[in-house]
Each structure stands twice: as structure tokens, then as C-alpha cells.
């Protein structure tokens, strides 16, 4: 499968944090959920992808081209939503259109205004009159209106209420279907990703812990809730991490079916991304 984004051995050092050999691929036409707790390295990785930080090592290819050498050309086909709001609040959506239609070659004015109408955003009002959610919607709309081949969204759904989040998720699906594009969506609201993402990449403390298809993750990984005695009977190599709770043990396992067979366990719960994150970060081996 053709990759839209390829990251190989990305390293970046700060005084108190570093990205360590971050590598993963995003295939064409797919949505990847990029998860991890705050400060895990999601935003730094995204900034390296967008080539807006310096002195990192490793290789990043977007549309099979170096993100540094072909910076400007690549950016014509990337839509970006950053974690912080970024449009000057004195501008109106119309002002944004007037600027961006002269910046992006493929800017689709008609599409932009149709999105504004769909999301009930007044095109003439200054952005400062918009709520946080409305601003986020405007940013997402803007990122879609030049029909990018890759959407890079850093916590784009975080400021939205559940109804708006669903609307936006539908918009992403529609966008992927119509344009054969890809999305890299960093978020800590993992429930959104279970509905939307084809792939999940999990980063913790600057390192990629896993990068797999969502189906593979949700079908193969499982959660065993057991007593201390049952836990002690498990081979250390058969589980990934565990957490000792007040009354029971939560044990994260891969190859759910094999484990079930081997230990004759009747129920291994399906894991959700939130529990997976929690166990991977807080669990012990």
C-alpha cells in the first residue's frame, strides 16, 4: 500500500524531553489516531512533520518527498489544525477566505462557504465573537478547503462538545471518501478514534510503543480481570503489562485467543483505547 507519510528514526532533543527513534507510516486513504498522554511527544512529532522545528534527525517523507527539501510544495497539499487557536481574532471568516485563496493554489472558495453554512458560522463576524468550539470548527473547515492530500490535526476535536465532535468526525469521513486523502489525528479523546481511525499509533515518553491497525488492536489485545492467584499462574511472557487494583488485577494481553485457550480463561474483555493507554503507561511488567 502506498504511504502518504513515512517517518524513520526521528530524534529530537530538548533539555528535559526527547523523541527517540520515532518511526511509523500512514498509508494513503487511511485515518491514523496518534495517541499518548500530554507531553508524550505527539505535538513535537507533528511539528517535525510540518518542518516547523529545527535540529531533528531522521527522515520524514510526505507524498514520497523529503519534508525539508520540498517544504513549500508539500505544504500546498497539507491541511493543518494546531492545538492552539491561531487565526487573528480581529479577522472574519471572509477575511480568512480572501487571504487563503491567494495562498493555496487549490483553495476552493465555494467549498469553504458551503462548510461555513453547514456549521452555521457567520462569514462576516469577527472571530473574537465566536466560541472556542466555533473557532475550532472554522480551523477545521479551513484545513479542508484546499482539498489537501494529508490532514494533520493536533487535538482538533478537543474543544468541541459531543454533538459538534460527531459532526466533525462525519466531515472527516466524508472528506476521506471523496478525496482519497489521509488524516493524522492526534488526540487524547480516544473514544473518537475507535469510531474513526484505521490505524492507531501510540507514543509514550518520546517513544512509539505501538503502531497497528485499529481492528488488530481491538481484536487481538484483551483485558483479563483476575484474582491474585490467577494472576500468579500467568507466565510473564504471556502478558504485556498489569495493574494491581484494590480487589483484582487488570492484565493486558496480546493474542487474546491463544491466551484464552492456554489458560482456559472463559472471558477476556475487549480492550478499549483508554484502558490500553492506561495500562501501557501506568502498568508494570
Amino acid at each position: 500500500m502506498e504511504n502518504i507519510l513515512e517517518i524513520k528514526n526521528l530524534n529530537k532533543k530538548y533539555d528535559n524531553f526527547s523523541l527517540k527513534n520515532v518511526s511509523f507510516n500512514l498509508p494513503k486513504g487511511m485515518i491514523m489516531g496518534f495517541i499518548g498522554e500530554n507531553g508524550a511527544g505527539k505535538t513535537t512529532t507533528i511539528k517535525a512533520i510540518l518542518n516547523i522545528i529545527n535540529s531533528y534527525t531522521g527522515e520524514i517523507k510526505i507524498f514520497n518527498k523529503s519534508n525539508i527539501k520540498y517544504d513549500s510544495e508539500i505544504k500546498e497539499d497539507i491541511g493543518v489544525v494546531l492545538d492552539n487557536t491561531f487565526f487573528p481574532e480581529i479577522l472574519s471568516p471572509t477575511d480568512i477566505n480572501n487571504s487563503l485563496k491567494n495562498i493555496y493554489k487549490n483553495w476552493d472558495e465555494k467549498l469553504y462557504y458551503s462548510y461555513l453554512e453547514k456549521f452555521n458560522l457567520d462569514k462576516t463576524k469577527q472571530i473574537k465573537t465566536f466560541s472556542k468550539g466555533m473557532r475550532k470548527k472554522l480551523e477545521i473547515i479551513t484545513a479542508l478547503s484546499h482539498k489537501p492530500k494529508l490532514l494533520v490535526l493536533d487535538e482538533a476535536t478537543s474543544g468541541l462538545d459531543p454533538v459538534a465532535r460527531n459532526e466533525v468526525i462525519d466531515l472527516f469521513r466524508e472528506f476521506i471518501e471523496n478525496n482519497d486523502s489521509s488524516i493524522l489525528l492526534s488526540t487524547h479523546i480516544t473514544s473518537d478514534l475507535e469510531k474513526l481511525a484505521d490505524y492507531i499509533t501510540f507514543i509514550n515518553n518520546g517513544e512509539i510503543l505501538l503502531s497497528k491497525t485499529t481492528d488488530e488492536l481491538l481484536n487481538n489485545y484483551g483485558l483479563i480481570k483476575c484474582t491474585e492467584k490467577e494472576f500468579n499462574s500467568l507466565d510473564k511472557n504471556d502478558y504485556i503489562k498489569y495493574m494491581k487494583n484494590k480487589y483484582e488485577y487488570d492484565v493486558l494481553v496480546e493474542n487474546k485467543k491463544e491466551i484464552k485457550k492456554k489458560y482456559k480463561i472463559e472471558v477476556i474483555d475487549k480492550i478499549n483505547l483508554e484502558d490500553l493507554m492506561l495500562l501501557m503507561i501506568k502498568g508494570v511488567k
Binding site: 516547523i52 500546498e76 494546531l82 491561531f86 481574532e89 479577522l91 487571504s99 485563496k101 491567494n102 495562498i103
Partner: protein
Amino acid sequence: MLGFIKKDINMVKSNFKLIGVLLIVYAFLAFTNKMDISFILPFISVMIMISSFSYDSFNNWDAYMVTLPNGRKNGVLAKYLTTFLLIFIISLITLTISLIISYTKNTEINYLQIFTSLLGTIIGTLLVVSFMYPLIYKLGIEKARISIFLIIFGLAFLGSLLINHINISHITNALTKLGNLLVPITIIITLLLLYISYIISLKIIRKKEY
């Protein structure tokens, strides 16, 4: 490029009313021979542009700008060009007002005086721009404001020291010798400084992390 200029103009357009009022005040004062405030007007355009830096900084615009195609280069260049454009338009209006007033008052129009005073103001304003913008990109708008005041006071202090210790007539004689070349040379030096300033600003933005 045009997109970035449009964005900057859209941000400062709310200040256009203020410029209009100042132009009327200028016309009134000039007409009644009370005071010539033409030198203030090009400076106003720089003050207005500085407010655009404040909006950018307050709303994290630069972090988004660098994700746009040619964002670093065009974003920085647009600030310089928009400033240049504003100074040019305001100066043109000021000049027109000066000429109309002289014409209506039926006084002899001293073209040379009007042009040199306006040109001096434009050059002075552009020099401030060429010092100030790299500082804004390097230090951020708040710290740059303080720095530019310190620089202006420092230069004024140095200037006064020099005037006290150097025979100023040597300089004026040298400048007089340049004759007709003085104006074009000054314009070329100013434009060169402005270009160097743009290159420095661009370098700062290229090195900056967001």
C-alpha cells in the same frame, strides 16, 4: 504573497478611520498655518503595523503561518511590503493635501521643500522599520517595544555626544559636495538597509521553533 498582505491589511483596516481623522486634523492645521504635522503621518502607518504584530503574537498566527506554503518567506516579506504600501499611500495623500492647500491659498508652491520634508519623513520611518522588525521577530513584540525605545534613546544620546565632539561643518560640507546625488544615495542606502533588515528577519524566522 498577496494572501499574506491581504491578511495584514484586513487586520489593520479598523485603524483607517484614525488615519482619516489625522489627515483631516493635518489639513486643518496646515490650512490655518498653525502647525505642520505631516511628519507624523508616515510614522502612524508603522504604529498601525506594529498593532498587527501584536494581534499575530496574541493569536499564535506565526505558528500557523509557517505551516502554509512559503509561509516563512512570504509572511515576513508581506509585513515589509504592507508597511511600505501604507507609508506610500499615506505619504501620497499627505502630499496631495499639501498641494491642494498651497493651491487654494494661492501661495507659491515650494515643491522642493514639500518633497524633501516628506522624503525625509519616509526615510526616517523606513529606518525605524529596518531596525524594529528584526527585533520584533527576535524578541517578540513586547520586549521589542522596550528595546526600540532604548535604541532610539541610545542613538540620540550618542548623536548628541558626537555633535559636541565633532565639527559638524565637516559632515555638512561633505554632504553638500554630494549635491544632486545626495537624495538618490540616501534612498539607495535606506532601501539597502531595509533589504538587509528583511534578510535578518527571515533568518530569525527560519531558525525559530514553534
